[in-house]
Symmetry: C2
């Protein structure tokens, strides 16, 4: 297996490598410039409720696209996408329980499944890095810190649950800059939902993450919290739909869209 | 003396009341919608250094206009402005010492004086209030809290000194919104320069203000700090120019420009 990506790999190129199982790990930092997406795949009967759930909760669940029932393509996001094979790792959920992680969902596919693709923080981390901001979880080579906050999502039909948030620490002037940069990207979580007082959103100990990996916060820093695309998974745990497939954290759908085109100004 | 302003008073109307000494108090909340300005009036020999000082320090000293030497008009800021009479209260400085406060500077005018008009936070407080944010110093009817920070201004010729900052406390979500709103107004201090760790910018005790009035910060709030138009006065104290006239804090030049026109998007 060749793990070396070509120079200036596109989203399309990377999807082809993933499809033929030449890449099965996280997509963080790969195909730079291309939008990556969180996934939730649900039966058609639940799709209208979930579509509305995303509309009601744009900070954690900014919807980039949804598919026709049974159709594994997402033509609005990229050429020749097959959602059954083009994500490096999936999680399979039954009645709200994570039952397995797999690298291909062809055997699980049903003609009533609808795919939802949700914006991902990888898109706003890229302009932060380009601006000279430092992201500790990337420098230390571990996943971002994710917490299940006490902020309730706005419910829609059967779907309800807490907002998952990702945390990145910054010194004060960089925190202000990070808010400015991410405000330009409402399609990928946008501005933070909280800063500075984790206990106000139900986080008593920053060292105890609910997903990802703990990130050290220095005494001169402020923790900033963004709505996180792991939220559909906290919602699936809380709402217990009969069947759902999501991406595994960090293992995203890589699209043909350019991050810079998501900026609103 | 009639202290009742007309309904929907314009900047021009208010200047006329100030000129005839019918208003001698602060301009906060008056002529809503119109840009108010901080003032520094300096001898022509010092003007090039100060012009460059403003350009080098746009957060505390965003320059809206400067005059021709000896000319008390500022045609770029409003109709028929006479800077000698149209500000309710002035401070007179000699060799860096505040020597008097007066309501008219006609007797002090010299044909070598140059006026600098600098953006004022009243312009960004208006859209914050319109957005539903609460400003405690306004609700409690006292001036904003001003501190002389340890952040050095970039020097220019004889001019040097610490940046004065104004502080407003917010709960976290409102702090994020306040950063977004003020980022749209770079001509009037723009985004905060600091948040959350006052000791990092030389402020050991928020109860000890250097100008204005202390503002209570609740345990669930974050203090945000903006560059402040009082900075020219801290710079005059530090740099000791032979002569300078400024406005008295809160007693601003009210212009014919509209606040909303200062928004960059």
């Amino acid at each position: 297996m060749d793990h070396t990506p070509p120079l200036r790999e596109t989203g399309y190129d990377l999807r082809q490598r993933i499809r033929r199982s030449a890449w099965t790990r996280t997509t963080e930092g790969l195909a730079p410039g291309y939008v990556q997406a969180n996934l939730a795949i649900l039966p058609r009967a639940l799709a209208p409720d979930f579509q509305r759930f995303c509309a009601l909760n744009p900070k954690p669940c900014p919807l980039l696209a949804s598919s026709e029932p049974g159709d594994p393509a997402l033509p609005g996001l990229g050429r020749d996408i097959d959602i059954r094979t083009d994500v490096p790792r999936y999680r399979v959920w039954r009645a709200g329980e994570l039952v397995e992680e797999v690298e291909d969902i062809s055997a699980l596919w049903r003609d009533d499944l609808v795919t939802f693709a949700i914006g991902c923080s990888h898109s706003f981390e890229e302009p932060m890095l380009a601006d000279g901001l430092r992201l500790r979880h990337i420098e230390r080579g571990h996943p971002v810190s994710v917490y299940y906050s006490s902020i309730p999502c706005v419910p829609s039909g059967v779907f309800h649950g807490p907002m998952a948030v990702s945390m990145r620490p910054f010194r004060p002037a960089d925190a202000i800059r990070a808010i400015q940069i991410t405000s330009r990207f409402p399609a990928v979580h946008g501005a933070p939902v909280h800063l500075g007082h984790p206990e106000q959103i139900g986080i008593q100990d920053l060292a105890k993450v609910d997903d990802g990996h703990p990130t050290e916060v220095m005494p001169d820093e402020i923790p900033l919290f963004w709505g996180c695309g792991v939220t559909p998974q906290t919602v699936v745990r809380a709402s217990r739909p009969e069947f759902c497939i999501t991406h595994a954290p960090g293992h995203m759908l890589v699209t043909d869209l350019l991050n810079s085109r998501l900026s609103v100004f």
